[in-house]
Homo-oligomer: 165 residues x 2
C-alpha cells in the first residue's frame, strides 16, 4: 500500500518529510505482492473504462465467451464469487445485451450463459486493450522472468488453494 520507493534511499526519516519505510513490511512477500497487484488493478481499471467494464464484469464476460453454455453457479465458483453477487454481474451484462441467459432444456432451474456477437466483439477489444496496458507495465520484465513469476504464483495458489476455510 505505500509508494515509498525513495524511502529506501533514506530510511527512517518519518519526521522530516515524505519518506517512510518499514523493514518489517519489506520483509513480507505478501506486501510486495499486494502492492504490485494494486498497481496492475488500477491500470486494469483504466484499460476497461472505455468499454464501461469493471474487473468483475470483464472477467465474467471473458469466462462466458471462453466457456459457452456456462451456468451461473459454475461461473460463480470459477470467479470465487458468491452466487447472489453473481446475479447482479450477469444482470448488467445481460442488460447491455452482451450475453443472454438461455434456458437449459434438461434442467429448467438453470441458465446457460452465452455471449452475443456484441459481447464477443467487446470482449475481444477489451482484452486487446488490457494486454496493451499490461505490456506497458511489464515491458521491463523479460519473458523468462514473467514465466518464473507466473510459475511461482501458480505454486502459491496450489499450496493455498484448498487450505483456508
Amino acid at each position: 500500500m505505500t509508494r515509498a520507493e525513495d524511502a529506501k534511499l533514506e530510511p527512517n526519516k518519518a519526521q522530516s518529510g515524505v519518506s517512510q519505510y518499514s523493514e518489517t513490511l519489506d520483509g513480507l512477500f505478501g506486501y510486495h505482492l499486494k502492492r504490485a497487484t494494486n498497481v496492475l488493478q488500477l491500470d486494469l481499471k483504466h484499460a476497461l473504462k472505455p468499454f464501461d467494464l469493471r474487473m468483475l464484469t470483464y472477467t465474467a464476460l471473458v469466462l462466458i465467451v471462453d466457456n459457452p453454455g456456462l451456468r451461473q453457479s459454475q461461473l460463480a465458483e470459477a470467479m470465487d464469487v458468491e452466487r447472489p453477487n453473481m446475479v447482479v454481474i450477469i444482470d448488467t451484462l445481460e442488460n447491455r445485451k452482451l450475453i443472454i441467459r438461455d434456458r437449459v432444456p434438461t434442467d429448467r432451474r438453470a441458465y446457460a450463459l452465452n455471449a452475443t456477437l456484441a459481447g464477443r466483439r467487446l470482449c475481444e477489444k477489451a482484452t486487446m486493450a488490457v494486454k496493451q496496458h499490461e505490456e506497458r507495465l511489464l515491458h521491463q520484465l523479460s519473458p523468462e522472468m514473467r514465466q518464473t513469476v507466473i510459475a511461482a504464483l501458480t505454486l502459491i495458489r496450489k499450496v493455498g488453494g484448498g487450505v483456508a476455510p
Copy 2:
C-alpha cells in the same frame, strides 16, 4: 478469481461439470497476480485474527512502530489510503491503546503517532505469526525464486507507480 487448476487437465468442459478454463484469462499476468494475492490475503486474514487485527490495522501498526512520530497524513500516503479512511483505522488502534496520538509541538494541527509498549509487543507477535503463515504458503519457492519474484514486483511498482491518475 477462479479455482480452476484442474481445468487445465480438461479444458472447455463447461457443460459437463466442474472445470472451466479461460485461455484469455490465463494469458493475463494480472490475473495470476490477483489470484495469488487473494490466497495470500486470505491467509493473512487468518494469521491476524487471533490478534484481532485486519490487514489495514496491522499495516498501520507496523508502519507506526517502524516510524515513530509519523503523522496521519504521512501514514495515509504511505498506505495509499485516503485521509478520511485513515482516521477510523487510527481510531481503532488508539481505542485499543496500541498507539497514541501525541501532539506535535511545532504544528498544533498535526498528530505524531507513536506505538505504546502493548502496541509494539502485539506488532511483534503478529508479525511472527504472519511470517509463519507466509512460510507455509511459500515453502515450495526457493530463495532465488522469491527474490526474482520480489524484484519483478518491485519493477512493476516502479513503472506503474506514478503513471495512473
